[in-house]
Symmetry: C2
Subunit: 389 residues, 2 copies
């Protein structure tokens, strides 16, 4: 079985956009296509992710529409939706299609508009984001995602002594990284006092513990390793993708704070890649909230259980540390256009593993991992990639 | 490469349901699981389709929720959305995953609620269904799907002399078949006068030329041919699945009335199955409107170009004819719960090819074809199945 490689990667600025979804997606897709040096008529399929466009823009059946806008009408196109893990799951299927020989060259990506540019106000958008929680048992209680992750983080604090200062340090770190990412929604420095002084959203989270929702798009071109050398873009190999779920609603999870789905997805990805967490040089993780990053790096085995907060405090997860986490700035600084977030992590892995990440380059990056969550940690997709040259 | 087989199939009554999506889906899924005689812990993945649940019920991230309700939490789950072709595309990916050896046993299905049980009125639902047309170029004009298919059908009438009586005969035939399907939404006989006397919805379509939108769910269990004999359910082999798209919006299509995507998807499916249209014993086609069935059977090569209307008039497409079309009653009589329609066609193919379709059994059914459209014919998925024993 030939491995799948990414040979092209592109994304828009994450932030506020007034273009329609097809134009936003085309920006990212054409960047990826140009980076790969692939001709349009070589692209055999579109694996596409969008989470909320039905609710926010009354726009479903987006895959053929976006393909048409790119001049790719005719090819098989499919839309995936798995909450915040939407485009990672599209990527998984694209990779599997290439590994199986169904396709040799495919385009993968996602797009979302989450800001007031959709025409929806904060109340309507809050209700929309809550659509990814349990309709009968959670939505009626008013439990939105800041509350979900606050509950998990409170438990982590109780069990391991994680502090608000440690959480704040995660935000400060990701903003420190994000200042070097020209496509970040909030690419500027912050300090611990600013985080702790910001308004409380859901205890223990202050506003600055929370990622922003953004408008944006991301895309990659995936090809078979057998033909990767024929394209312009430096190939980066996909050596493992794990995908697991956990019970919904959160009250039915056996061990919510462990994020069991993420642990099992990571183990699957490591096994496929034949590596251990010790081999990982850096990670892009789903830091929708600072506490989510703390829990994520433990689930991935990158730090010992309970050490996620302390690791940030010690500087271990900074670009200069022993295990850089979220060199892109993460969801926290880069932004979180829901359906685009998964493939945006793949874009960052690609750039890091090519050594083309500029001021935010992880030194000696040879193997990277991406961790993308959906909903109340019910979906987890974990991807291992490595330099192919 | 081992072929994929369906070893279990189930669906709910199509019609009006007040259960939440997870209970409706569980009814279909547990029927399929029971039919297959598969244990829950053997099921390795859920390939799931729902088209409109975000808009209609503020319920996204449905795949892990539905898996949890079935006691299947933990397995990889994914939601597909491709308008009315939603669960056919889920089925394609499930089949590909089995053919590739990624999984040996998977559950596939779809669910939708489209009636007033969602709490939405006709105006809101009309807007919801229109979300599958072009957001910028078509929705603002008020062009909803009766209008889209009326345009295609008017052109067909102009080019080939197809008549309103021929269209009415398609409805009459599908109701004649549907009276033998205990799960049909409108399983009762109709006559040509009733169709022609019903109110005009979009010229040339009367109300009785249009399928109803329904609540319902359908599911199948797909396994590798290598292990098919170990299950209780008679296996039916998937010998080809074609999937193509066409330009969006409709004004950009080179030849709208030919439904190019369907033609090409059919050719791909025939090639994979190594058969020609002459080998097909019966077809389930996407008769969202009577004119859509006329066009579909031509695109599939089951009747000569321009002969779709005349074929119904001659009785060729009746159960007793030479090429039975929509023995289930089709979308017209069986109903159309959008995300459930694709796998419901697969349920019908399975029952026909097992010879277990009762009063609506196609005599000598050995090879069947399913044709599922999404949007303004922009997505087409065509599946060939054959008796495996």
């Amino acid at each position: 079985m030939a491995r799948a490689c990414v040979v092209g990667a592109g994304m828009t600025q994450f932030g506020v956009h007034d273009e329609p979804l097809e134009e936003l997606f085309a920006d990212a897709a054409l960047s990826a296509i140009h980076d790969a040096g692939v001709d349009g008529d070589e692209i055999e399929g579109l694996y596409f992710g969008n989470a909320m466009g039905g609710i926010t823009e009354n726009d479903t059946h987006l895959a053929p529409k976006l393909a048409s806008h790119l001049g790719l009408q005719g090819i098989p196109c499919q839309r995936f939706e798995d909450a915040c893990a939407t485009s990672s799951n599209a990527f998984k299927h694209a990779v599997q299609s290439v590994e199986a020989g169904v396709h040799d060259v495919v385009l993968v990506g996602g797009v979302e508009r989450c800001t007031a540019e959709t025409g929806l106000d904060t109340e309507a958008m809050t209700r929309t984001f809550a659509s990814a929680s349990h309709r009968e048992y959670e939505q009626p209680t008013g439990l939105t995602f800041p509350g979900v992750f606050a509950l998990l983080t409170k438990r982590h604090m109780h069990e391991y002594g994680t502090t608000e200062e440690q959480l704040a340090e995660v935000a400060v770190k990701n903003h420190a990284h994000g200042q070097y990412n020209p496509r970040a929604h909030f690419g500027r420095e912050a300090d611990v006092a600013e985080v702790l002084d910001s308004p409380v959203v859901a205890d223990p989270f202050h506003l600055m513990d929370c990622c922003p929702f953004s408008d944006g798009a991301s895309a990659v071109v995936v090809v078979s390793e057998d033909v990767a050398e024929t394209y312009d873009g430096d190939p980066v190999a996909v050596s493992g993708i794990g995908h697991r779920t956990d019970a919904v609603p959160i009250a039915d999870k056996a061990a919510p704070v462990e994020t069991t789905a993420a642990k099992e997805a990571a183990n699957e990805a490591y096994a496929q890649a034949d590596i251990s967490p010790d081999d990982v040089d850096f990670a892009e993780v789903h830091d929708c909230f600072t506490g989510a990053e703390v829990i994520a790096i433990e689930a991935l085995g990158l730090v010992p259980e309970g050490e996620g907060g302390a690791a940030a405090m010690r500087g271990d997860t900074y670009l200069s540390g022993e295990m850089p986490v979220n060199p892109s700035g993460g969801l926290k600084a880069k932004g979180h256009p829901i359906g685009a977030t998964g493939t945006a992590q793949i874009v960052e892995l690609t750039e890091q593993l090519r050594g083309s990440a500029g001021d935010r380059q992880v030194a000696g990056a040879d193997k990277g991992i991406a961790h993308n969550l959906g909903g109340d940690t019910a979906t987890a997709v974990v991807t291992v990639m490595e330099a192919a040259r």
